[in-house]
């Protein structure tokens, strides 16, 4: 009988291998090679949301007063700050790590275990670093876009980080298991209640919800890895005639053709940025 750590190690190796393959399938031009499967899972998630989660969240929102819900949100966000501090450290950002640690300490001690968010009022902003972003900062590409059952949009990279990102919340460390499930359910319902209006807006403004959510998720993750300033590619100006000569187009041709004498355009990212 092989020792358990070998069996566990093999399983882990298999997971890493599969995810590595998944990662390799995607390119900058084709970030969603598993689209047909993803769409089905997305459809499943939407159905569960429409018939189970959203109604429960609506009920919860109707029954629980705003202030209480804010307290619950603060409580779970506080746990997230702790994990964020660890990740900022892993990314080498000591200042950010220290700030999130301060947030966690202040809110836990002075905020009744995190229910009151004093730190934000003190000017300490949350950074919400997670392991998926840490992998990105370390240079890992996002890999293929994946829609996970019930968990929603992800990428190969973020899925690799998922076990850690999932269990980083101390509410999962609680025994017995029923208590941790209960806390998880509470966290999910509370978050969904916070997002009810945004969810409806999303339905109104997207032509194809799947595509819109996917592109938004990928853009947002990339922005998060770069902490709000991802390198941009200067796109072609379709509203101007092709090959506009300097000075001929509408005022300020901008990035396409640098007019002589104007300042140099902002340096475009060299080659389409590798899908980070």
């Amino acid at each position: 009988m092989r020792p358990s750590f070998v069996r566990g190690g093999r399983r882990a190796a298999a997971v890493v291998l599969v995810l590595g393959l998944l990662g390799g399938c995607a390119t900058h031009q084709r970030p969603d090679p598993f689209e047909s499967v993803n769409r089905k899972v997305f459809g499943f998630n939407e159905t569960v949301d429409e018939y189970v989660l959203a109604p429960v969240a609506r009920g919860y929102r109707n029954v629980v007063p705003d202030m209480a819900r804010t307290g619950v949100t603060n409580f779970f966000n506080n746990l997230r700050d702790l994990w964020s501090s660890v990740n900022a450290l892993l990314q080498g950002d000591l200042e950010k790590s220290g700030q999130d640690w301060m947030r966690f300490s202040v809110n836990t001690v002075l905020g009744f275990g995190g229910v009151v968010d004093w730190a934000s009022r003190m000017g300490l902003d949350p950074h919400y670093e997670d392991l998926g972003q840490t992998f990105g900062v370390w240079g890992m590409e996002p890999g293929a876009y994946l829609v996970l059952p019930l968990l929603g949009p992800s990428t190969a990279r973020d899925t690799l980080a998922l076990p850690a990102d999932f269990y980083a919340y101390p509410d999962q460390w609680v025994t017995p298991a029923e208590a941790s499930y209960g806390l998880l359910a509470w966290r999910v319902v509370n978050t969904r209640a916070d997002l009810l209006d945004a969810g409806k807006l999303l339905g109104d403004i997207s032509l194809d919800k799947y595509t819109f959510v996917r592109d938004g998720y990928l853009q947002r993750r990339r922005s998060q890895v770069y902490n709000g300033s991802p390198p941009t590619e200067d796109g072609e100006r379709y509203d101007l005639p092709e090959h506009t000569a300097p000075g001929e187009g509408t005022p300020s041709p901008g990035a396409v053709v640098p007019p002589a004498g104007a300042s140099a355009p902002r340096p475009a990212a060299s080659a389409p940025a590798a899908g980070l």
Binding site: N74, P126, L201, I205, Q219, G228, D239, T250
Partner: protein, 210 residues
């Protein structure tokens, strides 16, 4: 003697003040960050003062956004950017229709986001641009309860002032985000198919219930 000295000084400072008010020619147009702050503050103040908007009336917000924000937006560039290379294949009539429908969609998007803003203020983040830049990014943050929301604007300088041509909410550039969706619709039903889809989306969103 003292009185005259005083009067002379008063006249001098009055003259100086008057000159400042006349200001150098470049101040005739606002800087892009000042423009964003002014309009954002106006919109939020107006939203806060209107009880119908506070009650969640998105159509009211849309009217507000239409009046205060849209004059500062370059819709042609936004629409062309979202439609991509197919824009040049579209007839002027199709381009007009695309622009009109996309504008309604964007106003609804912006208004919908604004409708969720309560007790919140806009803060400008450090603005990095050279005075001669023709295209800039203005970064702001919407702050209220809890986490600040990133809200950035890509702006270009035109003869009639700075115009917005893309908006970033929480790390997502909106116009970019529509590109794949638009391309999808165009490959399914051509440009007319896209126009029809946009019109249908605008109609159902306008009549749908929350």
């Amino acid at each position: 003697m003292l009185k005259r000295h005083f009067l002379l000084r008063l006249a001098a400072s009055g003259l100086a003040a008057w000159t400042l008010v006349q200001a150098p020619a470049q101040a005739q147009g606002e800087t892009p960050d000042a423009l964003v702050m002014r309009v954002s503050t106006e919109v939020i103040d107006a939203a806060r003062a209107d009880p119908a908007i506070q009650a969640g009336d998105v159509n009211r917000v849309m009217t507000l956004v239409d009046g205060k924000v849209m004059p500062h937006v370059n819709f042609q560039r936004m629409t062309a950017s979202a439609v991509g290379r197919y824009w040049r294949q579209a007839t002027p009539e199709q381009q007009q229709k695309l622009q009109a429908e996309f504008k309604t969609l964007l106003v609804r998007t912006y208004a919908g986001a604004l409708a969720q803003v309560k007790e919140q203020t806009v803060q400008l983040k450090p603005f990095r641009a050279k005075p001669e830049d023709q295209e800039v990014v203005v970064r702001t943050e919407v702050r209220g309860k809890g986490e600040p929301t990133q809200l950035d604007y890509r702006m270009e300088k035109r003869t009639d002032g700075w115009k917005i041509y893309d908006v970033n909410v929480l790390g997502v550039w909106l116009v970019e985000n529509y590109r794949n969706s638009f391309a999808q619709e165009i490959s399914a039903g051509g440009i007319d198919g896209l126009i029809a889809k946009l019109a249908e989306r605008n109609k159902s969103a306008g009549g749908g219930k929350g």
